[in-house]
Point group: C2
DNA sequence: ATGTTGGCTAGAAGCCGACAA
DNA sequence: TTGTCGGCTTCTAGCCAACAT
């Protein structure tokens, strides 16, 4: 029987996984593990950075400490227009948790944005990966891993079925480049694909439990890679607490403020596994959505990741429009929509979303700048700013987004046709906004 | 044979070790694990906070990333006088790595410091703990843990030696309050104390390897506790990288600057395991040392932790005095002494130390304000500032330490007798200071 | 006094098909 | 098609004393 060593990997291969040094992770594997919803803007494109969203993520990655000293205050606009200078994909050395360092360079006013950098539609590749949620049997010490039939046939190297039983040794590299070896065998009645020897050390090394997922990815060069996705439940980070939470938060704001003022490059860390909203979004997405409209009562859909790790859409209704934090972040588009989800089991889903996260209910396109208003009380006057309540309330917002020239604020560049057809569409304030009754 | 269950612990006991919540750790155990050199100032005492040192520790806890964007700049003085409002002792939930959150409140100028708050000399307790570095046998799967004889007799509950063999079940709580059970037996020829059943799960749970240490601590109430000290070598943190390093560093500075300006409480995290210098030191220590003198050529001793986890002193000679970073932190006492160590195997030891870390060579007291100058070329004129080179260079330092009243700088309060006997002793600049040739 | 090793044993890890969902 | 289980085998974890340092 073929099967040279069939031992496990551990510290065998010559992978340059040095201590305390972060190596850039294979992009295809990173994105496969991150899931279909996570899409990073291309390098060198224009993006909008949302400090509020960054703070949300930091708070989520951090222990809710007993430590809430005074609130810092920085004169930051809600959003900063940047060029995405560079992206480094990374993974935590212990947990394989993914993240990305995004280098952002605030855009000078003189730098006019390219006309609506449209995203190149990525060609769909044929299926060359599979992701399976581990069962109790997969993770028990009693046996190995049951490979779904289609997955084995499409993603694993072909077996020599003349053997009895057919078996081979698989070698797959994880996100750090570490090699793992498995015995792949096709046996049993009825026949099935199994990974036996080597599987349990992988499970225990990665500390996988039932509910977690593994992902196999076959490259063009027949190189096999594999990744890990933890069950969303056990998202315990075991935060390392290098500095206090207060310092971390101040650091986020101060870094952005400093960078925006001096127009200097800065870096942010994005954790896709937090399942929170992305706080660096493509500029064209922002522009498109700013020029469109939304109103209370409007129906929409939004993409989510379902339990089987595929994409699905949930429907909801806009129930309010306004600032999340009117004091610290007035006139911000960040999570400006208050929504209600159709499904009653709508826990887990945010009750506030941002304009660019949603899609119109009739899935024509992603929020085209056509009239979408369906609420009769919010009749839209085309080509003119729709100021629902007092217009003076939203004047500062205008200034913030297209500032006259405040020295210490990041400036959004002027749109080419500020006075022509596509109007700046401000956020409509609903007549009644039950802010306190948020439950 | 007595031995009720002899099973391991894991998630058994009802310890309130909730997720993502940091519980304050038993102080005695924390300090025992931290080692004899780590001494935190008492709560409510005056302390001096050194942002430079804080940055050093942060850099040490953080991957040396490929990420060094532009340097931030804050107008911070090298030191900030604070009151130590509170201390919370903590431990990392996964690694048991110790740290302390220290809440600092910058002192207003109006708040005169109490006259030389002397530290109450802590009474030495009798030995009620032992710490053993694990051998290969201790950590192998082949057997248990060999308890040193004296340690067992002094720190473990007494065995009933009439039994054959004498044995009992030990229960010890770790730093998180989790209970671990061990079978303690006295057997073999010659007789010895061993921990058998339960030991290996502890080793694997804590991921201990040969070279790490365990520490047993017996309380007054016969309650047994145990802690873990990793070998200094494997100090890999697996940093969680919540935000970029740049943001972390900026956060440290911005937090301190903000707090100093507004006289608001802020928190810092201190990691004793970094083995770097403490960046929060008692004010009385600072005052004492500022009023003393030091000069190039002077001999001194300094406390270190030796391999067997006890305290020992190394001797060295001052070879230079001056700023570590003359550009960003001019006129700072932080690591202002450049030193050379006697032992040739002096790697690992810092080549720069601060005044308050060293002791005079003749161990009379801790740097009394007596004349200690031994270098004939640096003859000291008592009771007057010794300005070796151009005195104008050090004028700004004076202003920084005792500022006239800059609004955004933390101010050091005026010493009661600025013009009387005890002079402000400035750092002497050596004639030649080879800064580039640091190796 | 205590680290390491060989011997021995109990129990877990782990491979297999059967069977069911 | 694939999750779980009982049966069986192999191997390691783990207790012991002997021996060495």
């Amino acid at each position: 029987i073929l099967l040279p060593s069939s031992s496990s990997s551990s510290s065998s291969s010559s992978s340059p996984c040095a201590r305390k040094v972060f190596i850039s992770v294979d992009s295809e594997l990173w994105h496969a593990c991150a899931g279909p919803l996570v899409s990073l803007p291309p390098v060198n494109s224009l993006v909008v950075y949302w400090p509020q969203g960054h703070l949300e993520q930091v708070a989520n990655c951090t222990p809710q400490a007993v430590d809430q000293p005074p609130i810092p205050q920085y004169n930051l606009p809600p959003q900063i227009l940047c060029r995405l200078t560079d992206i480094t994909l990374m993974a935590h050395p212990d947990t394989d948790k993914l993240y990305a360092q995004m280098d952002l360079t605030p855009v000078r006013e003189s730098e006019k944005p390219l006309v609506s950098e449209e995203p190149p539609p990525a060609a769909k590749r044929k299926r060359n990966s599979f992701c399976k949620t581990l069962t109790a049997s997969d993770t028990s010490t009693h046996g190995g891993f049951s490979v779904p039939r289609r997955a084995a046939e499409e993603c694993l190297p072909e077996l020599d079925y003349t053997m009895n039983p057919p078996c081979q040794e698989l070698v797959a590299k994880d996100v750090h480049g570490v090699e793992w070896k498995f015995r792949h065998i096709y046996r049993g009645h009825p026949r099935r694909h199994l990974l036996t020897t080597g599987w349990s050390v992988f499970v225990s090394s990665k500390r996988l439990v039932a509910g977690d997922s593994v992902l196999f990815l076959r490259g063009e060069n027949e190189q096999l890679r594999l990744g890990v996705r933890r069950a969303p439940k056990q998202q315990q980070d075991a935060p390392s607490m290098v500095v206090s939470n207060q310092s971390t938060q101040i650091g986020v704001l101060a870094t952005a403020a400093h960078a925006a003022m001096e127009k200097l490059r800065f870096s942010v860390i994005y954790h896709p596994s937090t399942c929170l909203s992305e706080f660096v979004i493509p500029y064209h997405k922002y522009v498109k959505v700013i020029n469109s409209t939304a109103s209370v009562g409007m129906r929409f859909k939004m993409r989510f990741e379902s339990a089987d790790l595929t994409e699905r859409r949930y429907a909801g209704t806009i129930t309010g429009i306004g600032d999340v934090d009117p004091v610290r972040w007035p006139n911000s588009y960040w999570r400006s929509l208050k929504v209600e989800w159709d499904e009653s089991a709508a826990s887990e889903r945010q009750e506030r979303v941002s304009l660019w996260e949603i899609e119109p209910f009739n899935s024509a396109a992603i929020l085209p700048p056509l009239s979408l208003g369906q609420n009769p009380s919010q009749k839209r006057r085309p080509n003119k700013p729709t100021l629902v309540n007092s217009s003076s309330v939203w004047d500062p917002a205008m200034k913030l987004l297209w500032p006259s020239n405040p020295p210490h604020l990041a400036s959004m560049p002027e749109s080419e046709d500020l006075s022509s057809p596509a109007p700046i569409w401000p956020i409509a304030i609903p007549p009644v906004m039950p802010d306190g009754a948020a439950s």
